[in-house]
């Protein structure tokens, strides 16, 4: 796992409430309040999407919501910046292909 538990400056990581989120239908454990992209890295997932034309993998680039490299489809809504979107219990996330597809009619 890639979580930093001990840190010389920040101290021990405070225990967080665990929530389950689903990435491509696979359940993973995330920490309440953390960003989706962080939960993925903590679980060893580094690919957030594949590009439209060349189908190349992309991971995080700026991690502050500017570059949109980390966008994924979250609860049926494509193009969500996962580095600045918090996890929620039961959230369903899919590795986005190209521009993604809206999976919920009522969100259109």
């Amino acid at each position: 796992m890639n979580r930093i538990i001990h840190h010389p400056i920040l101290g021990e990581k405070k225990p967080s409430k665990e929530v389950v989120i689903y990435v491509d239908d696979k359940p993973i454990i995330a920490h309440e309040g953390e960003m989706i992209a962080a939960a993925l890295i903590a679980n060893g997932i580094f690919i957030n999407r594949y590009t439209l034309h060349k189908h190349k993998p992309r991971g995080i680039y700026c991690a502050i919501g500017r570059c949109t490299d980390c966008i994924m489809t979250v609860d049926g809504v494509p193009n969500i910046r996962t580095c600045i979107t918090e996890v929620k219990e039961g959230m369903r996330i899919t590795t986005q292909k190209g521009a993604g597809v809206w999976q919920k009619e009522d969100q259109q």
Partner: protein
């Protein structure tokens, strides 16, 4: 090293080998002055312009070590050549996890991280006032007196 020897905070050879002394490796004019206030003996002077290099009054320095955690650049340490017949003493800032423990045998390194010799940890201080900059004291063979400035990160 040559630049370091020319800086107004680096002791001359006589003083360096005479007993415990604080050494400031700060040779660029950066806007910074917390070391000045950290010294209760008034041994360190920056002055009006905060980009001045620190000046050290080696007569006033009692090697108390308060300046070590105060320096945001972690550029101050204390050395004592007179510690024992064969060993010198070094106190330096350390901000990694885990901290070494007293009596640990650690690897002493030079400015480029090369391991030069083994050292024994004598003291580890990390009071709240240091704000997580621990001060570690090691003893190490005198022949490496000038080169050793820190230890290898413990993993």
């Amino acid at each position: 090293m040559e630049e370091l020897h020319k800086s107004p905070a680096y002791p001359d050879r006589d003083r360096l080998y005479k007993g415990p002394i604080a050494i400031i490796e700060c040779i660029e004019e950066i806007p910074c002055n917390p070391c000045e206030a950290a010294c209760s003996n008034g041994a360190i002077t920056i002055g009006e312009s905060i980009t001045n290099l620190p000046k050290m009054d080696f007569e006033k320095c009692v090697a108390c070590g308060r300046c070590i955690p105060a320096c945001p650049g972690l550029a101050i340490y204390i050395k004592d050549y007179t510690y024992s017949d064969t060993k010198a003493l070094l106190s330096f800032p350390y901000e990694y996890y885990p901290l070494p423990e007293v009596n640990d045998i650690v690897e002493a390194v030079d400015r480029h991280g090369n391991t030069l010799c083994q050292a024994k940890v004598i003291k580890v201080r990390n009071p709240k006032s240091n704000d997580h900059t621990a001060v570690v004291t090691i003893e190490y063979p005198k022949e490496y007196f000038e080169e050793v400035i820190s230890i290898k990160r413990i993993k």
